[in-house]
Symmetry: C3
Subunit: 177 residues, 3 copies
C-alpha cells in the first residue's frame, strides 16, 4: 500500500512537472530598456531550460513590438498624438532610471556591448528562435494608438487578459515586469 | 491498480483545481493609472472566469482606495505633508510615463472613453460586483499618512503581509503590479 | 478504497506543502526605497512563517547590496561613470514617487521611525537573521559597473537567471518587485 501510494505520488509529480512546472509567463508592461532586458533574459534562459515561455506585451511594453517607422495607424487625433509622444521601438527604449535624455540608454548599450550582452533587438531574435511566444495585448493596442499593422511580424498573436490568465493558471512562474 | 491510481490522480487534480488554480492575488503597489488599470483588468477578467481574486493595495496603490476629499486624518506634521503632496484618488491618478502635468492622464481617459473602456472608478465598481476582494495594507496606511477613515467603503479589510502570504501561497497566479 | 485515496491525497498535500508551498522568490529589480521596503517586509514575514525565501537583486536593486563607499571597482570609463551617477546604497535609496531631490526619502525615513518600522538597513539585517537568502545577479553586476568586491558581506552568492528559475519553478510565490 505504501509502495502503491509512493508510485501514485511519483506519477503525480511527473504530471505536475509536465503540466505546471515547465511553463512561465511574463507580462511586459514596462517599455523601459532595463526592464525589457530583464524580461528577455529570463525568457531566453527559461526556454533554454526546456520551459514553455509566453510573453504578454501590454501598455508601454508594446513599444518593443512596434515596427520601425510604424506610423501609428490608429484613427483619431488623440491616438496620433499619444503615438507621436510615445515613439519608442525595440531599438530605442528609455531607461527607468538615469535616462538623462538618452545618455543613460546610450551608455547602457555601450556597456552591454563591452560585456558581450545581446541588445534588446538581438534578445528578441534569440527569444523567437528559442520558441518563446510573444503576444500583444488586444486591449492596450487600441489605447496606445496602435493597430495590428504597427506591430512587427515577430508577434505570435493578439489576445486579451482571458488568454493570459488561461496560460498563467497552468504556469508555475508568472511575473509582471 | 492503474485504474485506481488514475482515479486518485483525477481526484487530486480536481482538488488542485479547486484549492490552487482558482485563486489569484495582485499586490497593487503602484498608484499610476496605467498600472492600476492593468491590475483591475486582470482582476475583473479572472473573476469572470470563476477565479477568487484578492487585491492588496499598498504604498501608492492606497491612493486608489482613498475616499474623495479624504483629509489624511493621520496625526503629525510629516503625515499631513506627505498626504498633501500625494493627493491622488481613484479619479485622479498619474501615468507612469508621459504624465506631463496631467495632460497624459487626460488623453488616456479620452482614449479609454473612445475605446469604450471603463475608467478606474468604474473598474473598481465592476471588481466589487464580481466579488474581487480589496484589502488595504495595514503597514503602509500609517506610512502614507492615512487612517482607516480615509479609505472608501469598498475596502473589504485592512491586513498585513502575513494575510497576503497566506492567500498567495494557495494561489497559482501572484503578481506584483 | 476511498479511505486509501484520501490518505494518498493527504500524503501528497503534505509533500506539496513541503516542496512547493513553503518557498518564495523575490526579484528585486528596483532600487527605490519604497519598493525595496515592500520586498523586505514580504521576505521577513514569509521567513517568520517558515517559508524558505530567496531574494535575487538585479539592476538598480544591486544598490541595496553595495558596500558603503564602494568605489565601483569595475574597469572602463563607462562603468565608472554609471557607477558615479548611480551612487545609492541601502542607506541612501531614492523614492519611486515624490523623491524631490531627497526630501521624500528623508520624510519617509522620519515616518518609518515614528511608526516604529525598521529602516532598509535594519530590515536587511532582520532578513539575514531570519535565514533569507540574498543573491546578486551575475549578469547585471557587470552592467552596473560593479564587481563582487563592491558588494556587502551579507550577500549569499552571485548567480544568474538559470539559478533563479530553478528556485522559482519550485516556489509557489514568485514576485518581480
Amino acid at each position: 500500500m505504501v509502495g502503491e501510494a509512493k508510485q501514485v505520488l511519483g506519477d503525480l509529480q511527473g504530471v505536475a512537472d509536465l503540466e505546471t512546472r515547465n511553463k512561465m509567463t511574463l507580462i511586459v508592461f514596462s517599455g523601459d530598456m532595463d526592464r525589457v532586458l530583464a524580461a528577455f533574459n529570463l525568457a531566453i534562459t527559461a526556454a533554454a531550460m526546456g520551459t514553455e515561455v509566453t510573453m504578454f506585451f501590454t501598455f508601454w511594453g508594446l513599444n518593443v513590438l512596434k515596427r520601425k517607422r510604424a506610423s501609428g495607424s490608429g484613427k483619431g487625433i488623440m491616438r496620433r498624438m499619444l503615438n507621436l509622444m510615445n515613439s519608442g521601438t525595440a531599438e530605442h527604449l528609455p531607461l527607468s532610471k538615469l535616462n538623462m535624455f538618452g545618455l543613460g540608454p546610450w551608455m547602457m548599450k555601450r556597456l552591454m556591448k563591452q560585456t558581450h550582452l545581446p541588445s534588446v533587438e538581438e534578445m528578441m531574435k534569440l527569444a523567437r528562435e528559442s520558441g518563446v511566444k510573444m503576444i500583444a495585448c488586444s486591449t492596450s493596442i487600441g489605447l496606445m494608438g496602435l493597430t495590428k499593422n504597427d506591430l512587427t511580424a515577430d508577434v505570435d498573436g493578439v489576445a486579451g487578459a482571458a488568454t493570459y490568465l488561461g496560460v498563467a493558471s497552468e504556469s508555475n512562474v508568472n511575473l509582471f515586469v
